[in-house]
């Protein structure tokens, strides 16, 4: 439930209109010693994830591999158990463990395991679904998924200071600098502004 207390600043966003802009800005911010940096872009920009070194490690490949192995083993032993242990029966004179014919399903389940668990991994790692996030409170932020590039320095950063950080951001020639309040109530962006940009 929303409190009456004075809303705290959550982060400062600098808006850019070009990939180059935010890449440069991110470099500068990193150079200026900011650590709690985040970037929000309408499409993937590989350089950014290098510059602002992501906090969590790169787990996706490992997760997928684990899932694939799990699926594969399940696939084979499911068949082996059913055909050779649980209910062995003479099928067309073939031995109960005719492993050669178990391969296709083993393969399919390998893929299935990898893909499914991988997808699950992505959501867990990136904390999705997460329908609320403070940045959503800024009406401008709607364009992060369209044509705007945002660099955010969050208040949790040790070097963060509401005024100086703002000045710093302005030096990066952003289109605009926005403050994000850490309010628990997220106003739905006012759609009337749609056509202003």
């Amino acid at each position: 439930m929303s409190s009456i207390r004075e809303p705290q600043i959550f982060a400062l966003l600098a808006e850019f209109d070009r990939a180059e802009g935010i890449i440069a800005a991110a470099n500068a911010a990193r150079a200026a010693g900011f650590t709690d940096l985040h970037a929000y872009t309408p499409f993937a920009i590989e350089e950014l994830s290098q510059i602002l070194k992501t906090r969590r490690r790169d787990w996706i490949p490992a997760i997928v591999l684990a899932g694939a192995i799990l699926g594969g083993l399940t696939g084979f032993f499911l068949q082996y158990y059913a055909a050779a242990i649980s209910y062995p029966v003479n099928i067309g004179g073939r031995p109960p463990n005719s492993w050669e014919v178990f391969i296709p399903i083993t393969f399919e389940l390998t893929i299935l395991g990898g893909a499914m668990i991988g997808a699950l991994g992505l959501f867990i790692i990136s904390g999705l679904p997460q329908l609320y996030h403070p940045v959503f409170t800024a009406p401008e932020f709607r364009r992060a998924t369209q044509d705007a590039f945002f660099l955010s320095i969050e208040a949790s950063d040790p070097n963060f200071n509401e005024t100086s950080t703002q000045d710093f951001l302005r030096t990066l020639q952003p289109v605009n600098v926005i403050g994000i309040l850490d309010s628990r109530t997220w106003r739905r962006p006012n759609i009337q502004h749609e056509d202003q940009n």
């Binding site: 070009r18 180059e20 985040h38 929000y40 872009t41 309408p42 499409f43 993937a44 920009i45 590989e46 950014l48 994830s49 602002l52 992501t54 790169d58 996706i60 997928v64 696939g75 499911l78 059913a82 055909a83 649980s86 209910y87 099928i91 067309g92 005719s98 014919v101 178990f102 296709p104 399903i105 393969f107 399919e108 389940l109 893929i111 299935l112 990898g114 893909a115 499914m116 991988g118 997808a119 991994g121 992505l122 790692i125 990136s126 999705l128 679904p129 997460q130 329908l131 609320y132 996030h133 959503f136 709607r142 364009r143 992060a144 998924t145 369209q146 044509d147 739905r188 759609i191 749609e194």
Partner: protein, 457 residues
């Protein structure tokens, strides 16, 4: 970057210059703003009638039994299996385009992969119907699945039909995931461009609160690439397994080692044909000619030639092996296909699959949209005919002349086939209206560099 795009072919991947905002607006407006065209209602309406026909045919089937179809002994498989293989084949292009072309870093896939993937899902859905319906007792289909039961009964894992179950299910599941994950950023775009509370909520939930964080993008791209890596062997394996339905049997005309590659090639062939069949009207209807360019169509035409040649090779090798093996039954089947009771079907498929695509050697025809459209339809027909010929001719004259017979579909066979075609297009109609037909995120990425450079200049 600039150079690369030019190297891609005679045309740029996308024509003209576009800004991020313009891309987003144009594509998302198809869903959000543009008011539904009358033609859409007309088209969807017609297809919906076919869906009703399908429901009727299925109801009739469940009440009266499989006997309403034309199947008999010797030819115990007919339309149902031919349709199944055909639809699965069509379902291959989507994943192929989005996965294999992605791995090959083929930029031109960007503007077609989204609806190609959608097409895959719908085709696989149609395909999935048939193995269920063609059962003598469809209500026991779940006996093909492994589940613990008091009878300690399991599926018989040596049967290619069980492999089918797993392959098709895996393919469907992975395709859905691949498709959905690929769509999340665009759903977010739709959310943020939503004009009504309703659409805002819907897309808000579907996009899972995607906010384009660089970190998310990183994991996202990683997974997307890996999924593509997984989907590539998968897509090959699925039709391989489907081909096992035939190759594992001892029936002359089925029992052949060439089948897996032959079927995969056929799948890509028919898949791309179907993508053309869809792309051409879509780019016209939604004025996307500059995003889905002549370049895309021509590339697909080239893929058609390539796969068409692989199929020709498969046919030839079948003849050769029939001759070389000296197996009386194999030889007979080859001749029977050409001159027997189903000769017409055989030559029809040769005309559609082998002869017609050769015209694509001519650049002028490759670049003739009308011709491509007709050709894509021909190839679709040809591929169905091929499945029919493989399924029916091999069975109708197998080992024992005393048991030889003929087969022909009944009205209900045709109704079911037409019904699934209707289902497929009905779903396509809904898709193009309700979801982004082209991946906006990838589009932005594609146009990013030139756009940026222009602004610097």
């Amino acid at each position: 970057m600039q150079k690369e795009t030019n190297n891609l072919g005679s045309d740029p991947v996308v024509e003209g210059q576009h800004s991020y905002d313009e891309i987003s607006r144009r594509i998302s407006d198809i869903t959000l703003v543009r008011k539904t065209h009358l033609m859409w209602f007309a088209g969807f309406g017609v297809m919906f009638l076919f869906v009703m026909l399908l429901c009727y045919a299925i109801a009739k089937l469940l009440f009266d039994g499989i006997g309403i179809w034309g199947v008999n002994i010797p030819v115990a498989w007919g339309f149902a299996i031919a349709n199944f293989v055909w639809w699965i084949g069509i379902g291959h292009a989507g994943t192929l385009i989005s996965a294999i072309l992605l791995l090959m870093n083929q930029k031109w896939r960007t503007s077609i992969n989204r609806f190609a993937e959608a097409m895959t899902l719908f085709a696989v859905a149609c395909a999935g119907l048939f193995p269920l319906l063609h059962l003598g007792r469809p209500y026991y289909f779940y006996w093909l699945l492994p589940y613990p039961n008091t009878m300690v009964l399991w599926p018989q894992f040596r049967s290619p039909l069980v492999w089918d179950v797993f392959a098709v299910f895996t393919y469907l599941a992975v395709s859905v995931v691949f498709w959905y994950i690929g769509m999340i950023p665009d759903l977010a775009t739709l959310r943020d461009r939503a004009r009504s509370n309703f659409t805002f909520r819907i897309f808000g939930i579907l996009s899972l609160g995607w906010r384009g964080s660089a970190e998310h993008w990183h994991h996202y791209e990683r997974l997307y690439l890996i999924l593509a890596g997984l989907a590539t062997p998968l897509v090959v394996s699925v039709h391989t397994v489907v081909s096992f339905d035939f190759a594992v049997a001892i029936v002359p005309g089925w029992h052949s080692t060439i089948f897996p590659p032959y079927f995969v090639a056929g799948a890509i062939f028919s898949g791309f044909a179907m993508v053309l069949t869809l792309a051409i009207p879509i780019r016209a209807a939604f004025r996307l000619k500059d995003l889905i360019t002549m370049h895309h169509l021509e590339n697909m035409a080239k893929v058609l030639i390539a796969t068409g040649l692989i199929i020709l090779y498969s046919y030839l090798s079948e003849f050769f092996f029939a001759y070389y093996s000296g197996d009386r039954f194999e030889r007979y089947i080859v001749l029977d296909r050409m001159f027997g009771g189903y000769a017409f079907m055989y030559w029809l498929l040769i005309a559609c699959n082998i002869v017609a695509p050769q015209l694509l050697w001519f650049r002028r025809l490759r670049r003739n949209v009308g011709f491509l459209f007709v050709l894509s339809l021909l190839v679709n027909v040809g591929m169905w005919t091929e499945r029919y010929v493989i399924v029916v001719t091999s069975l109708h004259h197998d080992f024992m002349p005393s048991a030889w017979g003929m087969y022909s579909g009944t009205w209900w066979d045709y109704a079911t086939l037409a019904g699934t075609v209707g289902l497929f297009f009905a779903l396509m109609f809904l898709f193009v209206r309700l979801l982004p037909v082209i991946s906006m995120a990838e589009m932005r990425k594609l146009i990013a560099p030139p756009n940026a450079k222009k602004e610097e200049a």
